[in-house]
Symmetry: C2
């Protein structure tokens, strides 16, 4: 039996586009004499559809796609995910289902049992879990059909769920497992994915075909890396990361095992590639092509510019250099050097004149108040307004260049440097930013070394350095990581060897900055816990604040 | 038996503050010889605690509060909600529980069964549902303890859940039901709440004591309106809206029935009062007192100013009048009249000079491009920056004045008039705004009639009117209501008699404006479907766009 896996880049709500991609893949699989072709979770409508699922019309369009696919199934079976209607009156109105289509019929349908409702996932918001299990039968084989999370809670110490769906399917003696997934990237995820597939192999001793999505949907990036695993626990194949791909597998070969094909899982190159996909798809799926950003001479905007050029092409990236009276000469020089290296359009707009116009109007109200963060913020907001003016006039989307360390402690100006349609680096800590810069510069000096080596500064007052207001980043980032990624209690962070006063100060800064993060752009997610939809904190909460 | 209900204004994460309120209420109930005092859902930690629940330390603090309350239970029983640890390895680690405390012991604990995971609710994100049911026994009575949603799915046609918790408790023959709730306000909610309590009475024929929260937690407003209902379906008492209150009830009197005490549920006064509570608690719970806003002479900012004065006091509200070259004279006059009527500090800062400074710098880049939305946005962003400058310098929080109709169709400037820490009117349609103005002016002309009567305009270009870019609001709002509140399919909105071209245009505007709403302030929720946490739509989605 020959099984094709199609790892595709779906687009939420783009039923026609998603269908066309599937039809093309079917054509290819058919030319390879495949018996079955497998697509991803909710392949008809894309993932995550969020509250579009509350529209009957949206569900109707998903069924229309299924009808169109059924017409293709005379000689090949199709396995795909789609929302389906729950025929029972009780419970949520929808299921998240995997369907087995063959000979113009839905031969079998298995609803998802384990509905992830944590971090970025909201599946119980819309779907009723399955309460029955079985297998699809096809050409003498029995197939256990599962959807994403259904294989993730197996042999775990502290399981999130009370049912292990594959355990319920095993009495039907399936020959292999198909898992249709939409499992978003983080830099650890390819490793966890392989570990969980192998845990399933150890438990069930039958092959698994695991199909993931690829591409980005706003902040969520899907890396692909679809897997075929042999009953002996070897990874027979791991499909590429971050690109669409169709491959065809002979079940007998997969059964033999002994072959292990895996790709490098180095963190920094994965982050680099993920961010490029995130950028590329944000623009492509909104039907846009051009980006603008402010280039300060600092490392964050430099990396953002490089990634934008790699994602969109140098002809589609434009930068503004907006020195203030507090900017150092080298900042403009470094920014210009980078723009020239990248071959992108740049313009220089000094902000002093506009700043003085603001201060002239504000003087009667400010009277003798001393210079403080107010005047710093005015400069940042002038830059935000200039960036947006170009964006509005010429149709460039403004990219936000804030990093995760700054975003965490609120070191940034709302409506100023926090402007932008997409936060490219908002999930990358400053200490990781440096590694990313080194990776970008591995073959040649793309980012000026001076940009990398100088102490970080917002340059909004004379001789300002980030370390005037914040702990050094190599002190700050490990505390943030424990608090944000690991949800470690404050006393345990201190017990891990971090200075108590610093820990309390940092956690307080994180918590009182919730109002800022509430208003920032979607953040491309590359870690297991990014700011945004996956981290939901009260704004008026009084805890560690 | 005497039962006290304490309708309190909790604060998320403020364990000490919440505990102190409960201790004070216990003292009062004890002085009334009450046998039982009842508090709200998750009363220890406040509602909704969101991802604070992922910290062990946060849960430990909730248990500490329970310990402190246990010390009070020698002569009075306490019923309250709190997160508790799930002792089972399988499933989520927490329950959302109601506890019955008496004689220094947790006598009984019932976990919530129905975990709302829709709209603004995310309870399955953190909690494992109950799979067992029983009653508390106390002084010869049996008490069915329920948490909020547990009573909401009874006798419904298309129930969201597959279990009816009270049905499972009835075999234990309870004498009455206690429901601890945290059920957020919308203008229809008091009516639905009474309807659902009466549906329970009809089914179970025993009294119910229903205790709600009061006060606001960022965007969510709790209106109180706690209920005591008699077995005959009469509402024995409805506690006041929007204020803390403790009342004491004799069970024998409640059992008699025949008494019906309900409050007026007029929509506009409810919205008015809810917004004031929302404003008041946003400031109080963040430890802030002063607000600023831009007063344009239009109706939205006028209403926002009035509500702010009513919530915070006139000495705590400051406004800026920022006329541009396109502002009409009457706008400044109207704004000044209002400021003088309200007795609030106002300053006038013309933006022409700053605007010209921007345009001077941008001229070489814009060259001969015609005046368009870019120049309009620059004016809005100058105002945003001026408001924020005052906010930063003097500690006033900027209030956003955008209404729901504008927010829906993206008629507003990001980082301009969309600035602000809290959106006061973002859930109030323009057509409701007029009714709110009439209500505010019912006794005297608080808002200048000219502000109410003139055609809405952003005044960002000569002779501009909202109706140049948008349908008239009495055409627009009913379409928005069907789409947003009712999730009506486009074809059904058209079938309801709305113009097809207009419907398609409006729905497209709503969907392509998702990126703007993603970056706006939390919106005080007064409708059944507000923008923000309760409405989750993809940004890159391609559906009706």
């Amino acid at each position: 039996m020959k099984i094709s896996l199609a790892q595709l880049n779906y687009h939420i709500g783009n039923f026609e586009g998603n269908l066309q991609k599937m039809l093309d893949a079917i054509t290819e699989a058919r030319s390879q004499q495949s018996d079955i072709i497998c697509f991803g979770e909710l392949a008809t409508c894309g993932y995550p559809p969020r509250d579009f699922l509350e529209f009957d019309d949206f569900i109707r369009l998903a069924y229309e796609s299924i009808d169109r696919l059924l017409a293709e199934t005379d000689d090949i079976a199709i396995v795909l995910g789609s929302p389906t209607k729950n025929p029972e009156a009780d419970g949520k109105n929808l299921h998240n289902s995997v369907l087995f289509l063959y000979q113009r019929k839905i031969q079998y349908m298995q609803h998802k049992t384990l509905l992830p409702t944590y971090d970025v996932f909201d599946e119980y918001r819309h779907f009723e879990p399955s309460k029955s299990w079985g297998v699809a039968e096809f050409k003498g084989k029995k197939i256990a059909l599962t959807v994403c999370e259904d294989i993730w809670d197996v042999g775990t110490n502290d399981p999130l769920y009370t049912v292990v769906p594959c355990d319920r399917m095993m009495p039907f003696q399936p020959d292999f497992i198909i898992n249709v997934s939409a499992s978003p990237f983080n830099y650890d995820h390819a490793t966890s994915r392989i570990r969980i597939v192998q845990a399933n192999m150890q438990r069930y001793k039958i092959p698994m075909f695991y199909i993931n999505h690829v591409g980005a949907q706003t902040e969520l990036i899907f890396d692909g890396g679809s897997l075929v695993s042999s009953p002996d626990g070897h990874i027979y194949d791991e499909m590429p990361y971050f690109e669409e791909c169709i491959r065809h597998y002979d079940l007998d070969e997969v059964l033999k095992g002994g072959i292990d094909r895996q790709q490098s899982k180095d963190k920094i190159p994965l982050i680099h590639d993920a961010l490029i996909v995130g950028l590329k798809d944000y623009f492509a799926k909104l039907g846009l092509s051009k980006a603008i950003l402010g280039l300060s001479g600092g490392i964050d905007s430099a990396i953002t510019a490089v990634l934008a050029v790699r994602a969109l092409g140098k002809e589609n990236v434009r930068v503004l250099l907006m020195p203030s009276q507090y900017s150092s000469t080298h900042s403009v020089v470094d920014a210009r050097t980078l723009a020239e290296t990248l071959g992108i359009q740049y313009d220089i707009i000094p902000i002093k004149g506009i700043y003085e116009a603001f201060m002239a109007e504000l003087k009667p109200l400010f009277q003798d108040q001393p210079f403080n963060v107010t005047e710093e913020n005015i400069q940042a907001r002038i830059r935000g307004t200039l960036n947006m003016a170009l964006s509005n006039k010429f149709g460039h989307i403004l990219l936000n260049t804030t990093n995760k360390s700054e975003m965490a402690v609120g070191y940034g100006t709302l409506y100023g440097d926090l402007c932008g349609g997409l936060s490219v680096l908002g999930d990358v800590y400053k200490t990781e930013i440096y590694k990313l810069a080194a990776y970008i510069n591995k073959d040649s000096e793309v980012i000026p070394l001076n940009t990398i080596n100088k102490p970080p500064s917002a340059e909004l007052r004379p001789n300002q350095k980030d370390s005037d207001s914040l702990p050094e980043y190599d002190v700050l980032d490990p505390i943030l990581y424990l608090y944000i990624e690991k949800r470690t209690d404050p006393q345990d962070i201190i017990a891990a060897g971090h200075d108590e006063v610093t820990v309390k100060r940092v956690l307080r800064l994180v918590n009182i900055s919730e109002f800022k993060r509430h208003q920032t752009a979607p953040v491309l997610r590359i870690s297991p816990k990014a700011f945004g939809v996956g981290r939901r904190m009260p704004i008026v909460g009084k805890y560690l604040s």
